[in-house]
């Protein structure tokens, strides 16, 4: 077995070098392939913990690379897209295998790439603090009844505005927090038969949230990102359901059906992060870029799905 490493598959030399420098901070050896064929050949000799690949490469070939990496025991594949390549996102989502998509003005993507890589390598997934500058305060509230949602969302908007953020940021924060809390209160709870027993209940009906049903809201802003984190303690959301929800085209056409809340949340923030511990908790973090001028922002959002690996006793 070879030494743990990271494999980059990208045709652009400047991007290769930038990504290599960033990933070099992990201490792992970084191998580079110019194209998918070379990447697959290298995989025959490597056991990378992480594969970072250019998302503009043809979808069918990407799947072959993902399969080859999985066969070598690779924990995760990260896909990069330049800001101008947003049209590729539906095809990538349709693959159903891209768990980490970073959309960014290329080739600079230091913050997102570093955090995503460290989370994948270390298996330390939870907490919005990973995305904010050290020292940023996170405000925490636990919902004990369902109708607290409207109060909390309104209060969040007021506090965001009080920190000098624009009405645009405040309205995005409201939408994201409302949808994520609503999802955690009504869609997450499941009984022993797998029935989501609160899914069809009217959203304006008062529901007490006991220890099992409580929902935690945390948020913080470091003047780069406003992070909104919502956690439920059922852990019923899975990777398949998430990628399906993000890929839905009928949300764009008709805005209908279940899963619309997640799809709207994705389209309303700059990065959406899912941290999943099956049967234990689901944590969703929405990051809204608040910088001006918005040099790092793109018209297409990034997403990450992290699944907690089973711990060995």
């Amino acid at each position: 077995m070879g030494a743990p490493s990271i494999l980059i598959v990208h045709p652009d030399r400047k991007t290769q070098r930038t990504v290599q420098r960033i990933l070099g901070t992990t201490g792992y050896r970084v191998d580079i392939a110019d194209d998918l064929e070379q990447g697959v050949r290298l995989l025959a000799h490597l056991e990378p913990v992480l594969v970072v690949v250019d998302g503009t490469l043809a979808a069918r070939s990407l799947r072959a690379l993902f399969d080859a990496a999985a066969a070598r025991g690779t924990a995760a594949c990260m896909t990069l897209l330049g800001a101008q390549a947003g049209a590729q996102v539906p095809a990538l989502l349709d693959l159903g295998a891209v768990t980490n998509l970073l959309v960014h003005p290329m080739p600079v993507l230091g913050e997102e790439l570093t955090v995503t890589t460290q989370k994948l390598i270390r298996g330390d997934l939870f907490g919005a603090d990973k995305y904010l500058l050290w020292g940023t305060e996170l405000h925490e509230t636990t919902l004990v009844r369902s109708t607290q949602r409207t109060e909390l969302v309104g209060e969040l908007a007021e506090r965001v505005r009080a920190r000098g953020q624009s009405a645009r940021v405040a309205s995005m924060a409201m939408l994201v927090a409302d949808e994520l809390i609503s999802n955690a209160v009504h869609n997450a709870p499941v009984d022993e038969r797998g029935v989501h027993y609160r899914k069809e209940l009217p959203r304006d009906r008062e529901l007490p949230l006991d220890e099992r049903h409580r929902v935690r809201l945390r948020w913080g802003c470091d003047a780069r990102y406003l992070a909104i984190e919502v956690t439920d303690w059922f852990g019923t959301l899975d990777q398949h359901a998430i990628l399906n929800a993000l890929a839905r085209s009928d949300v764009r056409q008709a805005g209908s059906g279940a899963g619309m809340g997640l799809a709207l949340t994705y389209r309303s923030c700059d990065q959406l992060v899912f941290n999943l511990a099956a049967g234990a908790r689901t944590e969703i973090i929405a990051l809204i870029d608040v910088r001006y001028p918005p040099s790092e922002r793109t018209a297409v959002s990034s997403y990450n799905v992290f699944v907690e690996r089973a711990r060995t006793p």
Partner: protein, 165 residues
């Protein structure tokens, strides 16, 4: 006179001139369908500057209201559409319905003094720029410098340009 469509509703509806002025949140309690009964002479004019929030259930209600208005052959005019609603109109094609949008708010920022502001855009006045997906020029209300558009034009103006992003 100020009325709400339901005691739980966080949306207020106030008649003002030929328009109904909506303010607050459009969510699961909004009951937008009730607005249709308040149309006058086949026209329903909605002033939306005060709408601060719309969630996915509010969007569903909004789409149903638009569809019912089309079925009833009502001429729907949307005035001073706020940014949260513009985002939904851009994200969801069905939310546009057959309504005419005569003005809307758009986000601008001033490079000179750092002020961020939501500014009103008249669709008739700036029709040419909007059809080319160009942000109309705006002056900073504070320092009078030229402001920069603070979003992605191809995304923000798609609902008035007829383009799909």
């Amino acid at each position: 006179m100020s009325t709400t469509s339901d005691s739980k509703s966080r949306l207020t509806v106030t008649p003002q001139g030929d328009a109904l002025v909506l303010a607050g949140a459009i969510d699961e309690t909004a009951g937008l369908h009730d607005l249709l009964a308040r149309a006058q002479g086949g026209r329903l004019v909605l002033d939306l500057a005060g709408v601060t929030f719309i969630n996915s259930l509010g969007v569903r209600d909004w789409i149903r209201m638009q569809a019912a208005a089309q079925q009833a052959r009502l001429d729907v005019e949307l005035r001073r559409v706020s940014e949260p609603l513009v985002h939904q109109l851009n994200m969801i094609l069905a939310a546009r319905g057959a309504a005419r949008i005569t003005s809307f708010f758009a986000p601008y920022a001033c490079d000179a003094c750092g002020r961020e502001e939501s500014l009103l855009v008249d669709t008739a006045l700036y029709r040419e720029q909007l059809s080319r997906i160009e942000p109309p020029p705006m002056a900073c209300p504070e320092c009078r410098s030229q402001m920069a558009f603070n979003d992605f034009p191809e995304r923000y103006f798609s609902f008035v340009s007829g383009e799909s992003v």
